[in-house]
């Protein structure tokens, strides 16, 4: 089986926000909830670099480890998904996640957050694929149709690549060999415990 991963090539990302927009539109993510975001380091200065960040679908996911109701599961493709019917909105996964991936529709008094929402790698949730429940809770299920996450598919500069870890590692390695410099597989050490 494939081991699905995300990789953002900071040398290519031009901070166009297309990945964010594609994700929001594809899954009809509510206002205030951002499954993916672009962070710019040294904004406006020479050497500015942008990285598109979402759930990295960690090998040993911290969110799954701290969840009091054990609502996370990892698919055969290594995608970390969760069951919104079990989620109680306690916020622990947000505090444990290194990437700030878990999101909640509310932030109000008495710890009311609503059900956690995060990137699904466009793989839906535990409900039957393409069912109405899956669509409203988790968004579309592209992986089931044999497609890759829309954010990466839409990326104009192919900075954000998604897919089997071995394949995208190869693509990235070839790029680095061609253009020189050192590989900077941001977030891989935290998420997968390894570089390219």
């Amino acid at each position: 089986m494939a081991r699905m991963k995300f990789l953002c090539d900071a040398e290519r990302c031009i901070e166009c926000q297309a990945c964010v927009t594609a994700c929001k539109n594809e899954h009809e993510v509510p206002w205030g909830v951002n499954r993916r975001r672009v962070i710019v380091m040294n904004d406006g200065q020479p050497g500015e670099r942008a990285v598109s960040v979402a759930c990295m679908h960690c090998t040993d996911a911290p969110c799954a480890a701290v969840c009091p109701v054990d609502c996370f599961y990892t698919t055969a493709d290594g995608i970390v998904l969760h069951d919104k019917d079990l989620c109680i909105g306690c916020g622990y996964c947000f505090y444990a996640c290194p990437f700030g991936a878990p999101q909640y529709p509310e932030q109000t008094a008495f710890g009311v957050r609503g059900k956690m929402d995060k990137c699904t790698f466009c793989a839906g949730g535990p409900e039957p694929a393409h069912s109405q429940e899956e669509l409203t809770k988790y968004g579309t299920n592209r992986v089931e149709e044999g497609k890759l996450p829309l954010c990466a598919e839409m990326c104009a500069t192919k900075a954000l690549i998604a897919g089997d870890g071995d394949v995208i590692s190869d693509i990235y390695r070839k790029r680095v060999m061609q253009r020189g410099g050192r590989p900077q597989t941001w977030g891989w050490q935290s998420a997968y415990g390894e570089g390219v």
Binding site: V40, C97, P98, G111
Partner: protein
């Protein structure tokens, strides 16, 4: 040399050794830092050192290094849970502590405390009133004090059960109820914990203010501790209204752990206040759970001593009156104060008679509820 001389020499040697060790510690800290003094006062005179190009850091590496350290960048996205950090390492600490010592050490701590108390009860049995009850009682707790105590107690039990469910439920309750069943309970436990918490905190603060005057430590408590509180054996060390053990429960349990749990609870409960970063939140959640577990451990002792462990103790908090024999045995100094204040012990028959006298007219309002 006489024995006296030997003792003084030994004492002198011991003292000089102590001073030497202290001097070593002090100098070890003071001497190296003295160079700061020199560097700072003379910095104007020395030329600024020029570093060669080789030892300068690569700006690109610096950027990734600061990103890994959790320094923020710029992001267009907005929302209550959107962060501008590329990576946040505090979460890993949170995970390690919560899933490590907090659940393992904390859980076994509670189990061991419970088992120890059970074993103590089975071995030693209940602490009886020496010579049996006298049949005469005096007032120990007023109605409003008892009301407050039981309000806090009820809140405590609810918070303990729901809090423990959220921390240990995954290990203990999911195997029993399954994921769906436990999730339904966790939802209830989570909301209950969050709604009861603030009420409990207010009641707790009022109770602390009300009971603080009974819990001022004094010399009698020292004597009480020296005799081990008379827990084992047949000694009955003197005590005022509160004995040394009760004061420890008050200051360590109710005051320190209780207020820690209350303050951290409020911070965790209102993420909308806005200052709670992930670092603050995870620290606060760890503190809250730690204080809770320790408090529950102490509470088990408090509850045991107040109910099963001591004959005649519980009625002080339920009826408000305690037997004179119990008072003499456990709180002799307080009993003397009670007598000195002019209150006279009353027998059960007298109490009944008093109720009859005032019953139909005087306390009619009080009887409506029952």
């Amino acid at each position: 040399m006489s024995k006296h001389q030997e003792a003084t020499t030994a004492k002198r040697r011991w003292r000089s050794m102590l001073w030497t060790v202290l001097a070593v510690f002090f100098l070890a800290a003071a001497l190296p830092s003295a160079s700061y003094l020199f560097a700072q006062t003379s910095s104007g005179e020395l030329p600024q050192r020029q570093f060669s190009e080789e030892s300068e850091t690569n700006p690109r590496s610096d950027m990734w290094r600061s990103a890994r350290r959790g320094e923020g960048g710029f992001t267009n996205q907005s929302g209550p849970y959107v962060t501008n950090e590329l990576i946040n390492n505090s979460g890993e600490n949170y995970r390690q502590i919560r899933m490590g010592p907090l659940t393992t050490v904390g859980g076994w701590f509670l189990v061991v405390v419970f088992l120890a108390i059970t074993a103590f009860y089975l071995l030693m049995g209940q602490k009886k009133i020496d010579g049996g009850r006298s049949g005469q009682t005096v007032v120990r707790w007023q109605t409003y004090e008892r009301f407050l105590h039981w309000l806090v107690a009820l809140g405590f039990v609810i918070l303990a059960v729901t809090g423990l469910s959220l921390l240990f439920g995954r290990t203990v309750l999911i195997p029993v109820f399954g994921h769906v069943g436990f999730s339904a309970w966790a939802e209830v436990a989570y909301s209950t914990h969050n709604l009861v918490g603030p009420v409990f905190a207010v009641a707790l603060v009022v109770m602390i203010l009300l009971f603080i005057r009974h819990n001022v430590p004094n010399k009698t408590d020292l004597q009480w501790f020296k005799q081990g509180g008379g827990i084992i054996g047949n000694k009955h060390p003197s005590a005022g209204k509160m004995n040394g053990g009760e004061k420890v429960w008050f200051w360590v349990g109710v005051f320190a752990l209780g207020l820690t749990a209350a303050v951290t609870g409020f911070i965790a409960l209102f993420p909308n206040w806005g200052f709670q970063t992930r670092e603050i939140m995870s620290l606060v959640l760890i503190l809250h759970a730690t204080a809770g577990i320790l408090w529950i451990g102490l509470f088990l002792g408090h509850a045991y001593i107040g109910t099963l462990g001591t004959e005649g103790a519980l009625e002080g908090m339920t009826r408000g009156r305690v037997d004179v024999a119990w008072a003499k045995q456990h709180h002799d100094l307080w009993y003397q104060d009670v007598l000195a204040s002019g209150e006279k012990p009353v027998s059960e028959e007298e109490l009944k008679a008093r109720k009859h006298q005032t019953g139909p007219s005087g306390s009619a309002a009080g009887q409506q509820g029952s």
